[in-house]
Amino acid sequence: MVINEKTDTKPNMYYIGSPGNTRWTRPAVVPASMTAMKEAAPLVKGLVGLTGLGVLAMLGRQLFAGSTDKHEEEDRHG
């Protein structure tokens, strides 16, 4: 794994081949893509959370109200 000694710009990638000279002479600059990844992370988690909530709502309905109107549902081209 390559970790810049002066600045650890997480996340780091593993290199199985040779990544070249790892003794960089200047502090690493956090690339825009990594900042974007960090900024996107809460959005991605939010999206997963939202669909998770949707699934919980559907599950709740299935458990508490589901079976009674199952047939109606089928007649509605569900």
Binding site: P11, I16, M34, A41, K45, G52
Partner: protein, 241 residues
């Protein structure tokens, strides 16, 4: 047995479960490859533990890459043996009828979570517009998994090559590949939660679930859930299965 309609080929069934198994393994190993407190979905203990388990992050990466290539080879095989099926699938999922399908999607979301009452209260009929081979929910998820799958595969190969044939000039591309890989997985995963619920847990879709093993669905399920498809195939000669 009631009349059956063929939905999936043997190769369709194989690629679906093969893809699902690969996804599971790639998720488990992939999440262990990110290690940043601002990103880790399960906290930083998970990547550390998983790396320790396989003897280091380098090994974990090799495992993830091997599964990733097996996954891609699976799809190359599928495209080769069932080109017609693939084309049919792509056509079915990307052709959307805006008014019919959006109405279906909106109503279905309300029906599945709150039931028919809110629709009736707003004076909207809870009747769902008939759907084709796939309903709009299936189409939306399938579109995300196809587009997401392509992004994941391409960015995965870019990262794989990053320390092999690429040099310094590719640093920008490689680091954007990391970000896009992560976002694409997240978006497909969000859809996957709903997919698994609808396909495996929701009782109404039970015949659809069985069809991913047997390949066919009974007539009344086809008529009620995929009316437009049913209209097309009902007059066809008795389908096998």
């Amino acid at each position: 047995m009631a009349r059956q309609f063929k939905r999936h080929d043997r190769s369709d069934i194989f690629i679906h479960w093969f893809n699902a198994a690969c996804w599971l393994l790639l998720l488990v190993t992939g999440i262990g490859l990110i290690s940043n407190p601002a990103i880790d979905p399960f906290g930083s203990g998970y990547p550390a533990a998983l790396r320790a388990m396989v003897g280091g992050g380098g090994n974990l990466l090799v495992i993830h890459e091997v599964i990733g290539f097996v996954w891609m080879l699976g799809f190359i095989w599928y495209l080769a043996v069932n080109a017609r099926g693939s084309l049919f699938f792509l056509k079915e999922i990307f052709i959307v009828s805006p008014t019919r399908d959006m109405a279906w999607m909106m109503k279905k979301m309300v029906l599945m979570t709150l039931g028919p009452k809110p629709l009736k209260m707003m004076g909207v009929s809870p009747e769902l517009p008939p759907q084709g081979f796939y309903n709009m929910g299936q189409k939306a998820f399938a579109q995300a998994s196809v587009a997401g799958g392509v992004v994941i595969a391409v960015t995965g190969v870019i990262m794989f090559l990053s320390d092999k044939t690429f040099g310094q000039e590719a640093v920008g591309i490689v680091s954007w590949a990391v970000t896009l890989h992560f976002i694409a997985v997240g978006v497909v995963f969000a859809g996957l939660l709903v997919h698994i619920y609808m396909a495996a847990i929701s009782p109404e879709e039970r015949p659809g679930f069985r069809s991913m093993f047997t390949g066919h669905v009974p007539e009344d399920y086809a008529r009620h859930h995929h009316g437009l498809w049913y209209e097309k195939v009902k007059t066809a000669p008795k389908s096998e299965g």
